[in-house]
Every structure is written in C-alpha cells, then in structure tokens.
Amino acid sequence: MAKQIRLTTPLSTEDVENLNIGDKVLLNGVLLTGRDAAHKRLFELIREGKELPVDIKGQVIYYVGPTPAKPGKPIGSAGPTTSYRMDPYSPKLIELGLKGMIGKGNRSQTVIEAMKRFKAVYFGATGGAGALLAKRIKKAEIVAYPDLGPEAIRILEAEDFPVIVINDTKGNDLYQEGIKRYAKG
C-alpha cells in the first residue's frame, strides 16, 4: 500500500530501503541539479580520477533545466526533464554514493540494476508542473558550470518537494506495475 513519507537529504541506505514504488515522498533539504551536459562533465572528471565539484554521497540529483528566475524569486519554473538521457552516466554516480534521482520517464535496466545493487531510488516528479514545483524550492545557487546556463549544476533548498517512488531498491518499477494493473485487453 502506497504511503506518504517526509524525508530530509542527505539520505541514508536505510532511508531508501524503506521506500516502495508508488510511495509519495516529500523531500526536504538540499537537492542537486544536473542534466545531460553537466552529467557528461562529471563523468569525464570521474574517468580522469579527479574530484567532483560537489559531494554526491547520500545526495539526490534533480534532472531539471529551469526557466530564468523573475526578480525576487529563487528560481523560475522547474519541472523534471526526461531521464533516459542520463542513463549512460547514472550507474557510476550511484556506485559513488548517489542515493536518489528525480526525473520523468523510464530508466534503463543497467540503472535499475545499479539502484538495486548500491541501494538508491528513482523518484518521479510531475512533468510539466514547473510552476507548482518551483514554489517548493526556497533557494537556488549555481555551484558548477555556469556556462551551461539552464543546465548548470545548482544546489536547491527544497521544502516538501513532492515526488513518487518509481524504482525502489528491490528492483520494482512503478511504470511496469501501473500498466499491468490498468491495461485492458
């Protein structure tokens, strides 16, 4: 049965092991942001054995490229982007201690296996709900790659940021379970 859970980052292995697909989670604390271009750069640093510009241990990465902030607002509209573009990079980040990812859309089997093996989860935020989700972000600061514009890495301060668990640490997938339950004929 789906539950509603409030969590604060950084997340522990125990935090993520308690989550099941379909659970509604309200995330609080720091969220990192990054899309394809930023992931590519992080991946290159890892390959070269260099230090990352942000510590990803226990952290949650939100795949988002927000609109420009209006004066007086911390961030513009900020809904999730499609996650499969990050699939080539995610297993390595999970292995290095990343505990959560927020996006939309299916993940590859390799990412799902990495989540199972190294204990991490994939959360879905509602795509296209950019204005609503922005209101749950209290602060935003660019910490790396400002040249990437909307794709720069930011540290966000989230307050009850609403997500749904899509892939848990047991290898379950809400997308597959949902279709099984509702497909007719």
Binding site: T67, T82, G128, I164, Y182, A183
Partner: protein, 280 residues
C-alpha cells in the same frame, strides 16, 4: 485600397502570443484535466492530475511558465493575399517577436545548433509555417513545442495495403512505446497522406485543435474516437504511473497522397498543450 500591416505590429503580436501561450493553459485542457482526475483511482495518478490543475492555476495567477520547457517557437501564419506587409522582413519580424517574448517573459531558451549544441541564446529561429490565404487579414498561431513529447513523434511510409487499420496500429504502438516519456496524458496529432513532409505538418496542425473538437468528417471523427479508446486501454496513465487517462484526445487530418504511398505521421503533444492565436 490595399490593407497594410506593419512589422512593428507583427512583432508585438508574436511577442504577446508567446508569453500568453506559456503562462495560460487553455480552458479546454483544464476541463480535460478535471475529467481525467474523475477517471483515476490510484493515489499516484490522482496526485498527478491534482498537481497539473494546481500548476495551471499558479502559472496563470503568478504569470509563470506552465512548464520549464517553453519549447521551440512554432508559428503558423496565414497571410491574406489582399494585404500588404510594410516596415521590413516578415520572417525577421516573427523572430524578433519570439526574441522579445522569450527574454521579456522569462521563458527558457531551448534552441541550439544541432551539431555543436550551442544555444542560440534567444530561442530563435522560430519554426515558421507560412500560407497564403484569401482575404486581407493575417492570422498568427503560436504553438510552443516541448522537446520531450516531440522526441516521441514519428513518421512512417506505410504500404497502401496496410490501410486504415495499419494507420491505427502504428499510432497506438507509438503511444505504447513512448510510455511515460512524453508526459501523459498526451494529445495525439495524426497526419495521413500528402508526402513524407506534408504528413508531419498535418500532424502538427492537427494539434492546434481544441480538446473535444472532432474532425468534421464523421468517418474520420469515428476513427479519432476509436484510436483514443484504444490508447486509453493501454494503462499507461498520468505520467505513466498507471491509469485510464493516457491521452486526452486524438486529432486526425488527411490529404490525398501518391497511389504508391500511405504516409502517416504521429506528433505527440504533452499535457502542456499550448497554442494561442490572433488575427490582425
């Protein structure tokens, strides 16, 4: 006396339409959200529909973009053959309107070089579809198009032997394979006939219709309803979390094609179905 329209006016109209389309979701889409909410029973699917309704309200009240993907600027423009444009280049006027709208409206600029991926910085060039029509007026339709749903769109050249059943299967299969990626509940535009490129433009044009408006040809209207029913039996549901609302509507447009061909295009539109128009 030939009616004159200045590029200055066109710039202003394009700018305002771009901002308006990104801040204000159509009432037809909002009504469809409410109906979809009523059809869902799982916590996750209901939560999505409630968030979408609330999101549209916040965007409208706070003048904020509905979605952070403010799209490429797709502009359909119908030019009355009895009018005259003064004050410069029409195409440049449309691009200037886009530039001003995306900067002034705090909209995200998503246009980039296809190979270097360098952002053009101002969301231009717009994707402009021009048509000369009778009359002395100009109709401008601004339809920002997000990348996530556009990526799930496809064109195929079917064998005429596949017939209408082949078309229906192609569309349903495409929606099924797209799963949660295009931000369901989606709207599906289908173009059948013409040539390779025409079918895609027909599919895109089909998306300009308001939800609930059927093709005036009763046979085509019936096909739209049948495809919609089949899609909503797939079980994908809001954001792919499982449910009964995978698409809010299906729009079909057709044109004659070559005797050897059956072109079919499926243009998938996310639930942020944005399009605004003005006549000047």
């Amino acid at each position: 006396m030939i009616r004159e329209i200045s590029t200055q006016e066109i710039i202003k109209v394009v700018r305002d339409l771009g901002i308006e389309a990104n801040y204000n979701l159509g009432d037809d889409v909002l009504l469809a959200f409410t109906r979809a909410l009523e059809k869902e029973d799982s916590t996750a699917a209901r939560e999505v529909m409630k968030e979408l309704i609330e999101n549209a309200r916040i965007a409208r009240e706070e003048k904020a973009p509905i979605c952070q993907d403010c799209g490429l600027a797709v502009v359909f423009i119908e030019i009355g053959q009895d009018m005259h444009i003064i004050g410069g280049d029409l195409k440049e006027a449309i691009n200037e309107g886009v530039r001003q709208g995306y900067r002034g409206g705090y909209l995200r600029k998503s246009a980039c070089h296809p190979i270097t991926r360098k952002n053009t910085g101002d969301n231009t060039p717009a994707i402009i579809h021009m048509q000369i029509v009778p009359g002395d007026k100009m109709r401008i339709i601004f339809a920002p198009k997000g990348g996530g749903s556009e990526n799930m769109s496809r064109v195929d050249m079917l064998s005429p032997a596949a017939g209408i059943e082949g078309v229906k299967d192609f569309v349903v299969k495409r929606v099924k394979e797209s799963g949660s990626n295009p931000c369901p509940p989606t709207i599906v535009g289908i173009g059948v006939g013409g040539t390779f490129e025409r079918s895609a433009i027909l599919a895109k044009k089909a998306l300009l219709r308001n939800i609930g408006v059927r093709n005036p040809d009763p046979e085509l209207a019936e096909i739209e309803e049948e495809i919609l029913a089949r899609i909503n039996r797939l079980g994908i549901g809001p954001m792919g979390y499982g449910g009964n609302s995978t698409s809010l509507d299906v729009f079909l447009e057709i044109e004659p094609c070559h005797i050897a061909s059956l072109p079919v295009a499926v243009n998938i539109q996310c639930h942020a179905a944005r399009h605004k128009e003005a006549v000047i």
